[in-house]
Symmetry: D3
Subunit: 321 residues, 6 copies
């Protein structure tokens, strides 16, 4: 194992398939969801090993999560099936073509019962120690106290083994206030090599409304700012001194569903890192991977394989046959 | 009952779900349709009482209409089930993303058999007399002679009770010529407080090809001109004298289906009226409600509740979770 | 043209696809329906020419009817498109696995406007004169006075040309009382060579509650009694004197939808006639074709081609590969 | 209000539509579920007033529950929307044509937060006091301590107002052990007029493995034993003394889905009670209503209206047109 | 027969219906495909006779192809059913809204077994000799040596009968290299009256990277250059001397699927030719027909009838009712 | 690896979902198929390691096959992706509820290009040598000469390593004559420990029409006769001498689709073998697993996990909640 290792909660996802109020849908599409597993799938499709650590319930939805990840060749030897709690659910409503709403059934879920022991004397511990990069998101520490402790444990294991650590802020207001987010994430910043976030999330974590000030406060790790349709920016880590920030524009595509684009960007960026690519190329890869994600309704299904990357460089309306 | 009361025909709607010739669809989606009930649903979702008066057949489609309206909390105590005629049908074809075609099976339908007696000594009569506003469209008088007489009766009842009357021209060429429309609607104009129409409909009703002249000829009621993607304009009633017309732009959204947008606009405008809002706010509410309607394939299913109104003020591509 | 010619009304069919109240279906399947065109399709699939005479509207549903019949190689050169009336509709509800309910929108339809002129100086007239058998059902004369006259005209044309005439009683209570049925069909009996009916229909036409008496009263033509899951019986025509009636059992299959089975039986029986087969073989072919029809939800889609007939002779649960 | 009043939890239901492991379904059908609301819908469709008391979340699934019940004309003025908890979910898997599995997401749900206050100084309290019969199931007391207390309150209110009380045992092993069931239900038995249960449930409640002994121990109320495909038996209440038990066979139909059949039976039986019918007729009505329920995949959608009852008395394979 | 005759391979088409990797689709839509039959359908819908010559297998997919073409009134009397090879398949993946990928199962297919004999002493030979125009594409000669020979035979037959010949280059890289394409098509150019191609195809056929040079090298026939969203250009045949090229812009529509647009353009252009229209009108008709094709997901289903052509001249968002 | 290893062809499967002619289906369901991978999935779900050796194309269907097998935890480290040939296809038509027809697109497929080298110096060779049982079917040797040689190589490798070999005759008439089957399979019989077949297949392989004679001729291996709805019989291997044959009845279930039942039986039987169970228990497990397979439309999706086995022992119509 020399690729990406991530930990968090993956859930069954039930999604409406046409715009309108969810309550008036006749059926919902069944899939899986989870910011961290999205990243793992994305990195794996781009050719690097990837492992996901977490818990699922001993139910059909838990089997669904594991089956899907195995199908994607994501290593789940560090995952556990918890017989005492159900797999979490995410309900996704396409209210209009431009507005998506999400509801969770994850309180008390198996995924939220992740705990430090899951990373002790377990395959998961070895996965972390052998990783090329450990990635987590701001969602996991807010799931429960034990999940927060598990994140801390994972970061400690990685740091001890010299494995660089990556964080995507991924603020979910349903899981807690900005105060809670700051409380959980700030102590971890000194251990980070890479910090990803949307513009608002960065301001929120740094508790300021000025982006320059936010970067100044948070810097230490390489900071990558996701700007959606306006592309992305990377600030080199403090250790690289005065290097100017780099910006890359988004790849223009017809967007079907923005959900998952941020995870896809991170997957592309980290796959670039595992490629040994320079920052500009990582940014380009992140934007390209993000473009695939928004082109498909699913959070992760549209993620590209390495040999599909050229498709969105081709002229629009291209037919390949 | 102190909200909106409307009368007209509601039908079962069978709609193709992807662009192309209807004859090559494998299935059609089943829903309900009716300009007046669309308005009633829209007003009700925005928090005001709404009642629908009309006839349905003693068949599954009639039950569908009543079930749906009851689900939406539209008062149907004034509706009748006619054992001697079938519920009308609307067939909707999405021929291309930008062209919708509609065919009706409403000749001899239960809905077209509405008659003045339906408003005599009936719950319907009380609903009209107690209403805050009576709304009807130019469709109903063209359905049949008895339906035209029923509309006249309703307007008389409303006028007698001091209830303001609202008309949306809603010209359907399938139901008759412009001459017929003018013949039926012009005598009612003196009784109107609110007159809604598209640009073409206004010209058609006023029998001119100049909008200023049309407004001049028709004024008396407040005149609201629906301009689709170009927004809407309101001319204050004659009683308000020289007040300048107000214009509001459309809310920019990715349009899925324009059908129902006009009804949605009227619902928003009249809900604003029932809120006690000023004209500018009514216009804004009409445009916002219309934007929801065009964002969803159904005529009415996408109509917003009060607490959803903010969704289309948010930035495009917003995900709420 | 030396095969079957039939005349009647074909409609668009909208059918629910799972058992339950139609009003709670989310969509309906789009197909075509019509007892006479079902028979034409069945005969054509079994290898004989078949033509359908009737009217459709100048709308998508009319195009659907003609496209489907052309696809099935049923000759529609005798069909007309009526610009002044819509194509009829049939709504089919699978209320439970064993109860099907049907509602029509055919009052004033193009199909019901069939008239004698449609068979004058027209390709239709030639089709009838050149046919090997003319088939019609008890539905058509009840559609309208002009349709009844058209049937009479067709029977006259056939008789004049020495073409044998076949009638399937096919009583639809929605179209009229038993009295009306008797009034229209009895005068035609002397012109018939073949008379098909269910047990109840035969009693109804003969106005008796004893089957032997019914056969005695109606005989003249060959009388074929369809008994559903209990098979079928044929009484030789009067001209064949004292020949004993023949009975054939139904072919045992898992029934999906009984609608269309009677038409399928007639198609098989008449195809046997066109084959030159004896009565026993015609009966067998009728029962076999009927078995295919009940095995598929559609009225006609499951009808067998000649080389599929052996499939239902094979053992149950057979897989062919 | 002089009909049935019931209280309990209604949920959104997500159901697979073809046999197989749920995890391999591509989509799930969205509907509602709840034993008590099933009974309310069934009674209402048979023509009697019915009201449902309970809590839903302030989310799309909560709106779905209320919309559906309103569509069915079930009175929901006694229902509350709880802003602090989500609507419960039921996941239904058709594992094989004969095996259905159900999973719940109802821990901490709005529905489980029902409490005695919901029946104090509220429309709910009046509904109970004015009811012709109060019905509840063994599910509700096991949802939470507050729900158990709410049931007790409702029974007290009914008893005080002279309203007869009906209980369907409806044991759900997911909600607790048989001991818990007995603990909660036995104290209520003295207040019951009607006690419904499956054979196993009756033994379980009476803590014996002999049905005669179970009836002996539990009697007092009229005891109705639901035996699925083997029909049902009623034992007259103790007050009716030595009257012999009555048995009715099940109505033979092709079963699509057994879930909901028990609730349907109770609905038919109680509707018969509200009709003023004798026990034998109530039993017949219960069996007939149950037959409709098993004929349709949904728990409640197949429930019959009064004028549909004759459909399952007709011969199998009947087509009505 | 005085219309268009074409020959080539038509296949069953299996298409994903929403953007994403094909392997993660739960189902594929079943239809037919074939560049030449697309053109035949397009010409036929615009009111001119059209015939298709080719082979299908003796299987359900072969029946599907013939049924569909018959439904469209395309003459298939010149088509053969080959008992020794399967019907070809086309698998179409909508990878993103803007990227379509196509895979074929046509090696050894019935369609690729077309041979000169199919045009000897056959209805096909007469169809060609009586045609108003013979159309083929660059796909057919690359299917197999016998198919190439059949194309040559058809061109010879047409030339001998004075029937003008039309070629659409339609390069499919899956079928062979540009060298192969040039080898097969160049010898046929002297026999052409009309040559259609995309910009790249023209360069490829002329073996140059300059469009002017390509036109210079290939001229002789009228050359029509399809430019997708940028419209189309026609260069008059050499015989018309110095006439300036004409250009027409594309008709602006919301594109759903670009596949089939080129065939649709050719159909419109050739229908214009059969109308006797001038070049400018042919171009306009080609662009309009192409606009219909891109508005619908299917390659051919969206093709317009003559009386639908006005629909895309109307204002966007038009609803006709 | 100490479980089952199998080799053969797995394909994409496209299946109609309701009874009727495939050509009239609007869409086909996408899944995978392959007798050998069905067995591997079945054994794996019952808790034993399982590996599949074979080739897929470098296309979406190939990815689908590998993704699905990985999801099922079937080891595919011995599988190869062949860049020069497409993945095979199976088209499955549910012609009636009792008749299934299958068509293949596997000539020249990647799967048919399996060759001995695939088992030389490869992970596949090690998998075979370490297996607890090697299983293959009569399909694979008939795919191509190289595939036949690969089977022979695998049997040699297994024999050399002392791994018992199992064969399921699985005659596919589409792949060759009974002569071909006998020619390929008979030389392998001396190497077999287990021989499975349907009644007809056994007669065909032994070239006799008497089952006793067939068993006499083929014996040596343990012979297991699959009798569908009539259960299964096992004849002990010759080495066990005079032991009487054992019979087990089929488990009664409502059959949805018989395809895959034979593979499921073999999976259950071999899983029993890997459990170390006696013959009677293996038979029982085979019949139980087969019952699950026929209860679900897919060939393999309905296969049971170990903890689901009890479900079909429960009473019919059981609901678990």
């Amino acid at each position: 194992m020399s690729g990406l290792v991530t930990l968090g909660e993956s859930m069954a996802a039930l999604c409406s398939t046409t715009p309108g109020p969810l309550r008036q849908a006749s059926h919902l599409q069944l899939s899986i969801a989870g910011a961290e597993s999205n990243v793992a799938i994305g990195v794996r499709r781009l050719g690097h090993p990837a492992a996901w650590i977490g818990r699922v319930g001993a139910d059909e939805f838990g089997s669904l999560v594991l089956e899907r990840l195995r199908a994607e060749q994501v290593d789940v030897t560090g995952a556990r099936t918890d017989p005492d709690a159900p797999t979490g659910l995410l309900i996704k409503e396409q209210r209009t073509p431009d507005v998506t709403r999400v509801q969770y059934y994850r309180a008390g879920s198996a995924g939220s019962r992740l705990r430090p022991d899951d990373l002790t004397d377990s395959p998961a511990a070895e996965l972390v120690a052998d990783a090329a990069v450990l990635h987590f998101t701001g969602i996991t520490p807010l799931l429960s106290a034990s999940a927060a402790a598990a994140v801390t444990r994972a970061v400690e294991l990685a740091t001890a083994a010299g494995v660089p650590v990556s964080l995507d802020i991924n603020h979910r207001s349903a899981l807690g206030s900005p105060d809670g987010l700051r409380e959980h994430l700030r102590p971890l910043i000194p251990h980070l090599s890479y910090l990803f976030g949307g513009e608002d999330e960065l301001l929120l974590l740094a508790d300021t409304d000025d982006e320059h000030e936010a970067v100044r406060r948070l810097r230490g790790p390489e900071i990558v700012i996701k700007r959606g349709a306006r592309g992305a920016t990377v600030h080199a880590p403090l250790s690289d001194g005065a290097e100017a920030p780099l910006h890359a524009p988004a790849v223009p595509v017809r967007a079907v569903d923005p959900v998952g684009a941020g995870d896809a960007f991170v997957a592309g960026y980290l796959a670039g890192l595992l490629d040994g690519a320079a920052r500009a190329e990582r940014l380009r890869l992140g934007c390209l991977t993000g473009a695939f994600a928004v082109s498909v309704a699913s959070d992760w299904s549209g993620l590209p394989t390495r040999d599909e990357l050229h498709l969105l460089d081709a002229a629009p309306g291209t037919t390949l046959r």
